[in-house]
């Protein structure tokens, strides 16, 4: 390579960069213009972006809002890294006016830290008290009585059963642990995986917690998950013993401790496993042919459990609409936008076009996402017992260590006593 070629290459590269920068400078590349954060612009920072369910709907409804009201809305977005970006923005006084994000981990501290403002005062004032499920308002309220945000999306966590695969093995949907163990045997004899689960990540952690909760009252569960004192709770110990029995009976697919929620979903979608414990947003990703042979139910009832019916994790926790300190100075812009988000029209779009579960009061169900609709009907009926999603109770620092502990629980050979030890250690060491 000669020097002249190097020079030409450098000149070409420099010229291309200069051309691109001049394009941005003269406004030809509209997409590269920073979002305006002026006094007349509402800035919304959300997790509705990328491949997230509802991202396209969110883009559309924001555009509809701009078109119908003539108001200016700037949208910012992040994925799971939104909390850290929002928090640093708060420190610099440049945070968005509205944040749309889950109530989990770091965000639980936002209200008390005054990163966002309590919104209970606006609930009735903006006519949202009749639009939002009362249970959601309760779940989103801090111990000191402040409503953190307007609860927007929610989740159900039922169990998907592939009835075709169950019928191939001569089975019906298992309703008890005995049924489930029998089903696992028969499915394995047909070379079909029984319960698929991401034992190595949060999906395994949730199922583990769900099994334990069959032996706990809601108050006991709240105490155990907040304190981490599993060994002091008879119910928790019984639940852990039962979990180990299920594991040793081969109820979970082989090597479950190494799988993730994505591998779980793939195993179910490809018909390699017949049963999957799944949150509703994952149910929306089951393809139509598999959905047609799927029935939604609850986790089978263990012997001696407090629950008398199959259990389903139900939570009003999903994304909420938080108002920041900057937003509190632009309430005239925030109010109509939030009212628009909770309008029948917008809520219906989220349900029908993206399969989202919403906290807004609505009768709309989704034909395009039949499993999500089944899960909603199941949750509204009386054939299952709801159990809590303990995300609000487990200390933030414990989340990751606890997931590692539950991954060990899915591993063959880990005794109930060892499971208790690693669980308690995850709380002590966090």
């Amino acid at each position: 390579m000669s020097e002249s070629l190097s020079r030409r290459t450098l000149l070409t590269a420099g010229g291309a960069a200069a051309a691109l920068m001049s394009l941005t400078g003269c406004g030809a590349v509209q997409a590269l213009r920073p979002a305006s954060g002026g006094a007349g612009t509402l800035v919304v920072h959300s997790q509705f972006n990328g491949a997230v369910a509802g991202a396209d709907v969110f883009r559309a409804i924001v555009q509809q809002y701009r078109d119908t009201t003539g108001r200016s809305v700037a949208t910012l977005s992040n994925g799971s890294d939104l909390p850290i970006v929002f928090e640093t923005s708060v420190l610099a006084g440049k945070e968005a006016d509205v944040a749309i994000i889950n109530m989990v981990g770091k965000t639980l501290a936002w209200t008390d830290a005054e990163a966002t403002i309590p919104v209970e005062g606006y609930l009735g004032q903006w006519g949202l008290d009749t639009r939002i499920e009362p249970g959601a308002v309760q779940e989103w309220t801090t111990p000191s009585g402040h409503l953190r945000a307007f609860p927007y999306t929610r989740t159900n966590w039922p169990v998907a059963f592939n009835t075709r695969l169950l019928e191939e093995a001569g089975l019906e949907i298992p309703l008890t642990s005995a049924d489930l163990i029998d089903a696992a045997d028969r499915l394995r004899s047909k070379d079909i995986g029984p319960v698929t689960i991401g034992g190595g990540d949060w999906s395994g952690q949730k199922l583990f917690i769900q099994v334990i909760q069959s032996f706990l009252t809601a108050d006991e569960a709240a105490d155990v998950f907040a304190s981490g004192r599993f060994s002091e709770s008879e119910g928790a110990v019984a639940g852990i013993r039962h979990f180990a029995e299920l594991r040793d009976a081969g109820v979970f697919v082989d090597s479950a401790q190494g799988f993730t929620s994505d591998s779980m979903l793939t195993q179910y979608n490809t018909g390699k496993a017949a049963i999957m414990s799944s949150m509703s947003s994952a149910l929306a990703k089951v393809p139509a042919d598999r959905a047609a042979e799927t029935t939604i139910g609850g986790w089978p009832v263990p012997p001696g459990a407090i629950s008398t019916r199959p259990t389903v994790i139900q939570s009003f926790n999903g994304m909420g609409v938080w108002i920041s300190e900057n937003g509190s100075r632009k309430l005239d812009l925030v109010e109509p936008f939030v009212q628009w988000l909770f309008s029948d029209e917008v809520v219906a779009q989220f349900i029908t076009q993206s399969g989202r579960d919403m906290n807004a009061v609505t009768d709309v169900t989704s034909d395009r996402f039949p499993l999500v609709a089944q899960a909603q009907a199941l949750a509204a009926g009386d054939s299952v017992d709801p159990v809590i999603l303990p995300d609000l109770l487990i200390p933030e620092a414990v989340f990751e260590p606890m997931t590692q502990a539950t991954a060990q629980a899915f591993g063959p050979g880990t005794s109930p006593e060892q499971i208790v030890d690693v669980l308690e250690a995850s709380y002590k060491n966090a």
């Binding site: 020097e3 190097s6 960069a17 941005t24 997409a31 590269l32 970006v85 640093t88 999906s203 793939t266």
Partner: protein
Amino acid sequence: MKFPRISGFLAWGYALLLVIPFYYLVVSSFKENDDIFTNPLKLPATWDFGNYGEAVGSADLVPAVANSVIVTGLALALTLLLAVPAAFALSRSTGRAGRIVEATFSLGFLIPTFAALFPTFLLAAFTGLFHTRTFLILLLPATAMPLAVVILTQFMRTIPRELEEAASMDGASTLTILRHVHLPICIPGIATVVLLCFLSFWNEYLYSLIIIGPDPAQRTIQVALPTLQLTTGTDYGVLMAGTVFTLLPVFAVYAITQRQMQRALVSGAVKG
């Protein structure tokens, strides 16, 4: 004769080890999840670019690539603009001051990225450049100066002083000597610095995330790409397609500069 054959075999084996992940990445970008998980190394049934369209559309990858080009290009230009004269001066200095300055540049290697994050954030907020690309363009050269100055200084030290003296006798100024004597000879060294800094700037995530912030019109490719990964139900075909899309500029730059970098590595190995 045996040793070259063994080393050749090992080299090809190592090359194959490097190619397998790249092959997996490319073929996966044309598949659906089910196929990726069940037949990871099998060729895709169709070479449909749908995943690429989905990735580019969902994560706004086009403006993100443009932003990465702007930030990386300007930061690289600034790095060279600062490092080349500094290296020239240090390579020609003979006193204690020069040695102290050179050692000070070397101390930059000791500063961990995380340790500088909070002070950098405060500086960005104080200067009013928080949530702008401009601050990152000014910051990245500062992070690259130790490496760039150390490499270029060593490179320029190998240039015989006689060349400089001859040019001086012909009436060349210091700037002319740098431009017409040192720079052409230093092209391999500069290419090395360009490649290393390019990789570092292009792949930078943490500062881009915090300093540039959440605006899709400003964020770089490393911040945009993770939006394709979900808590549950990630479409890995789309994610791989997005990853391949973001790797293309890296391959282009490497293809342009790799020969010069090789020359830089072996320069001085043979007397001629």
